[in-house]
C-alpha cells in the first residue's frame, strides 16, 4: 500500500528558504546603477498644493532628479479602477500617480526624488518645500456622504462614488412591516491595516534599445500588474514583464496597482537606469490600502418562534481619497451577495453607498466584503435570539439550510454548490460542550465571573469565479486561470501557473494535486509562478481561488498528460489501450503486471519520440485554461468562549473551536495553517485592531506602538474539526480556505464577549473591543441601571 499524497500533511516546501532567510524578495534584488526613489508625501489629509520648490533638493549630493506631476505630464495615465459596478451610477475620479493641484489623504504623493542612495533620497525628499493650503477633511464615510461635507473630487457629487442596490426595497419593506420582531443595530466595521510582513516594493528597469520594461514588484497578480502598467505607460503589453519574486504576504493589499509601481516604471523609462522603491512600515500604514471601513445600519426581521425572515442594510463604505483597483466590488458584489449566509432566509436588501473620504484608499483585505456581511448577519441573529428569548445556538439550528449536494439557490441569487451546515454545526457544538458551558456560565456568574460564548455558522463564496459572472458584475478582467504541466526528459515536472501565491503554501498543495494525478513524487514537481514571461496568463491569487481554480487547471492538464501517457504506454508495450491499467505513476498491461512503464519512462519516450503512435505529437507537456462553472462555498461553524474581567474590561479568549468544510483537504497542515492565520486576523478585528484618524485626517495609529497587531499569547490552542463535503463542480472537489477563518471569527468572538456582558446590561460596543471600551460600556450600563 502506498500513502496517498493527496490528504497528506507534508511539510510546506517553501518553508526552508523562508525560514532561513534565503528567499529573495523584491528589495533583495540589486541592480548596478540603480537609483532610489523617495516619495514626498502630503502631511495633510486634504489640501490644495500652492507651490512646490525642489531647488534645494535638486542641489543635494547624489540627487539625480526631482519630479512632480507637471514633469510627468501625460507620460503616465491615471491609475484605473478595474471593478466598474454596473447600475450604480459609478464615478471614477482621476487617480494621478502624483497629486495634481490637490492632495486627498495623508500620504498622497506630491513629488518623487531619485538619488544614488536611499538615505540621500530621503534627505532630499525632506528638502522639497511644498506649500499647502489646508482644506477641511472628512474621514467618516457616513459623514462624508451627508450634505455639507467637504467635497473631495469635483466630479464626485456629494462624495458618493456609487450607490449599489441589491434586492427589492418594497418587498423587503413588506416583510419587515409584517414581522413579529425587528432588531436593528448600527455596526462599525472599523478600518484595518493589512500589515503584510513584507512591505511593498517595486523596481523597474527599461531597455531603450528593445523598449522592454521589467518591473519587479510585490504583487499578488503580476499579469494584472502587467496589464495596468502597460496601460498607464503606453508600452505594448508584450514589452512589459512583471516579476513578483518572493512576496511576503498580501492579504489583498498587494492586489492593487499603486502609484509607486507606475512611478518607478515611468522614472526608469525617463532616465534609462533602474529605479527602486521600498516602502517603510510607516509608509505602509499610510499608503497601502486599508480594509473594511463600513458604517452599516442593519435590521433583521424574525417571527416570535424564531424563523429568520429577512435582513436589510444601508452601508456607507469608505473608499478613501481615490478608488483603488478593485475597491467598488468589495462592499457590493463581495458583500451583499453573502446576506443569506447558511440560513433559509427569503428576504434580503442592501443599499451600499461608496463614499470618497480623506482616508487612505480601501480595497480588498482578507475576506473582502464577506467578513463585513457575515459579521452583520451573525450579530443580528444574536440580537434576534436575545429579543425573542431563544438560545442563539437553537435559533441558528432552526434556520440552517438542510444538507444539499448539488446546488441550492438562495435569495441573493447565488447558487451554493454544496453544503451540510447542520452536521458541521452540531459537530462544533459537541466539541465545545455547548450545553455544559451554559451551566458553567451560570455557575461562574454566581461567583461574579463573566463568561460568554459566541457561535457563528457561516458560508462564503470564494474560488472567484466564473468569468461570465465577473463580466456581468463589472470586473474588468476574467476570473479563469491557466496552467501548464511540463515534464522534462528526465521526468521532472515544472508546473507553470498564472496565479501568484505569496505565502499560502500553494507550491506544496498544487504539487500534491499533480502528484496525485500523475504519480510523480512531490519532490520532483516544481511550481513556477510570478513572472509574466515564464508563466501563462492568470488573474492572480486572491479570493481563496488558487487551489480551486489553478488547482483545477492543473488537475485537468495532468489528466490530459495521463491520457497521452496511457496511449503511449500501450503503444510501447504493444498492448491495447483499453488493457492499460494505471496505479501510482505506473502503467501496466492487464493480466501481465510485470510488463510496466513508469510515468518517467513514458515522459522520456515522449521526448525522444523515436517510437510514437500514429498521429501523436512529441513532447510531454499539457496546458489547460480553466474557467470555473460556479464559485465554491466552504462553510462551517466557529465557537469562542471568553471571560471578561469586569474590573478592567480585559477579555481572555479561553477556547476557540473551528469546524470548517473546504471539501477534501489536500494538505491538512496547510489547511490548519490557513485557518489559524485567518482566525487570528479576524479575532484581532474584534479585539484589538483598528486604524484611528484624528478629525483632521491624521492617522493616529501610524505604527505598531498604537496599531495593535495580534500576538501569539492572546490565543489559546485552536481546536479544529472538519467535515468533508466535496464541491460537485470541481475536478478534485476542493473549496477555498484562505479566508474562512477571517470571515467567521470576528462575529464569533464579538458575540461571545457581548454574551458575557449581557448580565451587566451591555448591548453594543464598537469594535475593536479594547479593555477601555468594554470597561466604559460596563460603567455606562451600570449607570443606566445595569443588567437584569
Amino acid at each position: 500500500m502506498t500513502t496517498r499524497i493527496f490528504g497528506s500533511g507534508i511539510k510546506r516546501r517553501e518553508d526552508p528558504r523562508l525560514i532561513t532567510g534565503e528567499a529573495r524578495y523584491t528589495d533583495d534584488i540589486k541592480l548596478p546603477g540603480v537609483l532610489h526613489m523617495a516619495v514626498v508625501r502630503s502631511p495633510y489629509a486634504h489640501a490644495n498644493i500652492v507651490s512646490i520648490d525642489s531647488s534645494a533638493a535638486e542641489a543635494m549630493d547624489g540627487v539625480v532628479a526631482v519630479y512632480t506631476s507637471e514633469d510627468i505630464g501625460d507620460g503616465l495615465a491615471g491609475l484605473p479602477t478595474a471593478w466598474l459596478i454596473p447600475d450604480s451610477d459609478l464615478k471614477t475620479p482621476e487617480h494621478p500617480a502624483l497629486a495634481k493641484g490637490k492632495v486627498r489623504y495623508v500620504g498622497d504623493g506630491v513629488a518623487i526624488v531619485l538619488a544614488d542612495d536611499r538615505y540621500r533620497a530621503q534627505d532630499a525628499a525632506d528638502a522639497v518645500v511644498v506649500e499647502y493650503e489646508e482644506l477641511p477633511a472628512v474621514i467618516d464615510p457616513e459623514e462624508a456622504a451627508g450634505g455639507g461635507a467637504p467635497l473631495i473630487h469635483d466630479d464626485v457629487e456629494g462624495n458618493i462614488a456609487f450607490r449599489w442596490v441589491m434586492g427589492d426595497r418594497e418587498a423587503s419593506d413588506a416583510v419587515f412591516d409584517a414581522a413579529d420582531v425587528v432588531v436593528s443595530e448600527r455596526i462599525l466595521q472599523q478600518r484595518l491595516l493589512p500589515t503584510a510582513m513584507e512591505p511593498r516594493a517595486a523596481m523597474a528597469q527599461f531597455n531603450g534599445a528593445t523598449q522592454e520594461l521589467t518591473l519587479w514588484c510585490t504583487s499578488q497578480n503580476p499579469h494584472i500588474h502587467r496589464f495596468i502598467i502597460s496601460a498607464v505607460t503606453g508600452l505594448n503589453e508584450n514589452k512589459v514583464r512583471v516579476i513578483a519574486p518572493e512576496v511576503g504576504g498580501g492579504f489583498g493589499s498587494k492586489i492593487p496597482c499603486y502609484p509607486d509601481e507606475a512611478l518607478v516604471s515611468w522614472a526608469a523609462i525617463k532616465l534609462g537606469v533602474p529605479v527602486k522603491w521600498t516602502e517603510t512600515r510607516s509608509e505602509n500604514y499610510l499608503i497601502t490600502i486599508h480594509g473594511r471601513d463600513h458604517v452599516q445600519h442593519v435590521e433583521m426581521a424574525a417571527s416570535n418562534d424564531g424563523k429568520l425572515l429577512g435582513v436589510r442594510a444601508t452601508v456607507y463604505a469608505g473608499m478613501g481619497g481615490y478608488l483603488s483597483t478593485a475597491a467598488p466590488g468589495i462592499p457590493t458584489i463581495l458583500h451583499g451577495l453573502l446576506y443569506v449566509g447558511p440560513y433559509t432566509m427569503d428576504s434580503v436588501f442592501c443599499e451600499s453607498i461608496g463614499v470618497m473620504t480623506n482616508g487612505t484608499p480601501t480595497d480588498a483585505y482578507r475576506g473582502a466584503g464577506r467578513p463585513e456581511a457575515t459579521f452583520l448577519l451573525e450579530r443580528m441573529v444574536d440580537n434576534v435570539a436575545r429579543e425573542i428569548g431563544m438560545d442563539p445556538a437553537e435559533l441558528r439550528r432552526k434556520n440552517l439550510i438542510p444538507a444539499f449536494e448539488d446546488g441550492y439557490e438562495v435569495a441573493t441569487t447565488l447558487i451554493y454548490d454544496s453544503g451540510d451546515y447542520p452536521t458541521a454545526f452540531e459537530k462544533a457544538l459537541g466539541m465545545a460542550g455547548y450545553d455544559d458551558f451554559r451551566q458553567a456560565q451560570a455557575d461562574a456568574l454566581a461567583e461574579g465571573r463573566y463568561l460568554g460564548i459566541g457561535v457563528t455558522a457561516y458560508t462564503e463564496m470564494c474560488g472567484l469565479g466564473p468569468s461570465q459572472v465577473a463580466g456581468a458584475v463589472g470586473f474588468q478582467g476574467g476570473l479563469w486561470e491557466s496552467a501548464t504541466v511540463r515534464v522534462t526528459p528526465t521526468g521532472k515536472v515544472q508546473a507553470l501557473i498564472g496565479a501568484s501565491p505569496h505565502g499560502q503554501g500553494s507550491e506544496t498543495t498544487l504539487a500534491q494535486i499533480i502528484s496525485e494525478e500523475l504519480g510523480f513524487p512531490v519532490e520532483d514537481i516544481e511550481v513556477v509562478h510570478g513572472d509574466t514571461t515564464e508563466t501563462p496568463m492568470g488573474w492572480g491569487t486572491y479570493g481563496s481561488r488558487t487551489t480551486p481554480v489553478t488547482g483545477a487547471a492543473l488537475a485537468h492538464a495532468s489528466r490530459k498528460l495521463k491520457e497521452k501517457a496511457r496511449v503511449l504506454a500501450a503503444h510501447l508495450m504493444e498492448a491495447n489501450v483499453d488493457d492499460i491499467e494505471y496505479a501510482d505513476g505506473s502503467f501496466s498491461v492487464k493480466g501481465s503486471p510485470d510488463q510496466a512503464q513508469s510515468i518517467q519512462d513514458v515522459a522520456l519516450m515522449a521526448h525522444l519520440a523515436w517510437n510514437m503512435p500514429e498521429g501523436m505529437d512529441p513532447g510531454f507537456e499539457e496546458s489547460q485554461f480553466y474557467d470555473p462553472p460556479n464559485f465554491v462555498y466552504p462553510f462551517g461553524t466557529h465557537i469562542a468562549i471568553v471571560e471578561v474581567d469586569a474590573d478592567t474590561g480585559e477579555i481572555e479568549l479561553q477556547r476557540y473551536i473551528a469546524v470548517d468544510d473546504c471539501g477534501p483537504q489536500i494538505n491538512p497542515e496547510i489547511v490548519a495553517g490557513q485557518i489559524h492565520g485567518g482566525v487570528v486576523q479576524g479575532v484581532a478585528q474584534a479585539l484589538c485592531e483598528g486604524a484611528i484618524y484624528s478629525d483632521d485626517g491624521q492617522l493616529l495609529t501610524g505604527s505598531m506602538m498604537d496599531y495593535c497587531m495580534p500576538k501569539a499569547d492572546m490565543f489559546p490552542n485552536f481546536e479544529l474539526g472538519e467535515t468533508v463535503t466535496p464541491s460537485p463542480h470541481h475536478p478534485v472537489g476542493v473549496k477555498g480556505v484562505g479566508e474562512t477563518g477571517t470571515i467567521a471569527s470576528t462575529p464569533t468572538v464579538y458575540n461571545a464577549v457581548l454574551d458575557a456582558l449581557t448580565p451587566l446590561g451591555v448591548k453594543q460596543i464598537d469594535m475593536p473591543l479594547t479593555s477601555a471600551k468594554v470597561w466604559g460600556a460596563i460603567q455606562q450600563a451600570s449607570a443606566n441601571g445595569g443588567g437584569h
Binding site: Q122, T280, M704, M705, D706
Partner: protein, 281 residues
C-alpha cells in the same frame, strides 16, 4: 526608517565620552529608544557617542544598598540575585520590559534618560527612593528619582550630562512588587504600580507607592501611602488607598487614543489593589 546623517564614536571611558559629546550629540547605550526615533526622523543628532564599551558604567554591586551601572541591561537586572533580594520590584519591572531581545539591549540608564512615561523601571525607582548619579563636564552630582523625572520625556539631566549609575536602598525587609497592565499594542505600561511595604507584624509600618504609565512621569503617591500606613491592610484601608491613588495622580495623567486618561486613572486603583494583593499574598 531612514535616519538622518550622523557621526559615530565609541568612548572607552566616562571622561572620553564627556569630552566627545558636543552640543548636537547624544549618548548611545542600547539604542532601543534612540534608534527608533532617529529612524522616524523625530530625532536627528549629529553625533552618537557610544557608551556601551565603558566598563565602569556596567554592572551591579550590592554593598549595604544597590548600585547599578547605567549601561546594565534590563536582563542583567532582572536576573540579578542581589536585585531580586534587595529590590524585588525592580527585578520584576526590568523583567517585564519589552521582550527578551529588548531586555538584552536596553539599559537602565538609557531607559531613565529617555523618560518614556510608559516605561517600567522608573516607577519602581520612584517608589523605592532611588538616587540617580550623574556626571558632567563640571563634575558629578546625585538627584533623587522623584526629582529626576520632570515630565513627558523630560528629566533633570542637562545637555552633555551622563548618568553613571542608579543607587537604591536595601529593601530586602520590604514586600516590594511591580504590577503592570501592558498596552496590547506596544506592551509598554498602560498602568504600572510599584508598591513597597514595610510590615511590622500584621501592621503596615510604611508604604511606598508609585504609579507610572497612567501618568506623564512616575508619580509618588502620598495619599495612597498614608491610607495604608499604620493599618493592617484591611479592606477599608485598601479601598481608601485605591481611591486616594486616583487623586494622587490626578494632576499628572497621560493617555492615548485607545486608553484615555480617565480609564488609566481608574485602572491605577484596580492595579494598586492587585499590587497590594501581590505584595502581601
Amino acid at each position: 526608517m531612514w535616519p538622518n546623517k550622523f557621526e559615530y564614536a565609541r568612548a572607552g571611558s566616562v571622561d572620553e565620552a564627556l569630552g566627545l559629546i558636543g552640543d548636537e550629540g547624544k549618548f548611545l547605550a542600547g539604542g532601543h529608544s534612540l534608534l527608533p526615533v532617529m529612524k522616524l526622523r523625530l530625532a536627528a543628532p549629529e553625533q552618537l557617542v557610544d557608551i556601551g564599551g565603558i566598563d565602569s558604567l556596567r554592572g551591579i554591586s550590592a554593598n549595604g544598598g544597590l548600585t547599578i551601572g547605567a549601561t546594565t541591561t534590563h536582563a542583567e537586572i532582572a536576573d540579578s540575585a542581589d536585585v531580586q533580594a534587595m529590590c524585588a520590584g525592580l527585578a520584576s519591572a526590568c523583567g517585564q520590559v519589552g521582550d527578551q531581545a529588548v531586555r538584552n539591549f536596553g539599559t537602565i540608564g538609557g531607559n531613565i534618560a529617555h523618560a518614556d512615561p510608559a516605561s517600567d523601571p522608573p516607577t519602581v525607582l520612584v517608589a523605592c527612593g532611588a538616587t540617580i548619579n550623574i556626571q558632567g563636564a563640571g563634575g558629578s552630582r546625585s538627584v533623587g528619582a522623584e526629582d529626576f523625572f520632570i515630565d513627558l520625556f523630560e528629566t533633570d539631566l542637562e545637555d552633555g550630562e551622563l548618568i553613571t549609575s542608579v543607587s537604591l536602598p536595601n529593601c530586602s525587609d520590604c514586600q516590594c512588587v511591580y504590577v503592570k497592565f501592558p498596552h496590547p499594542a506596544s506592551r509598554y505600561a498602560i498602568v504600572g504600580v510599584a508598591v513597597c511595604l514595610k510590615m511590622d507584624g500584621a501592621t503596615c509600618a510604611q508604604a511606598d507607592i508609585a504609579v507610572g504609565g497612567a501618568t506623564v512621569k512616575a508619580v509618588k503617591c502620598a495619599g495612597a501611602e498614608a491610607a495604608l500606613a499604620g493599618t493592617t491592610l484591611d479592606d477599608a484601608a485598601i479601598n481608601a488607598a485605591a481611591e486616594a491613588v486616583k487623586a494622587d495622580i490626578a494632576d499628572w495623567l497621560a493617555g492615548d487614543i485607545a486608553y484615555p486618561e480617565s480609564y488609566r486613572q481608574q485602572m491605577a486603583g484596580v492595579f494598586l489593589r492587585r499590587a497590594i494583593g501581590a505584595a502581601t499574598g
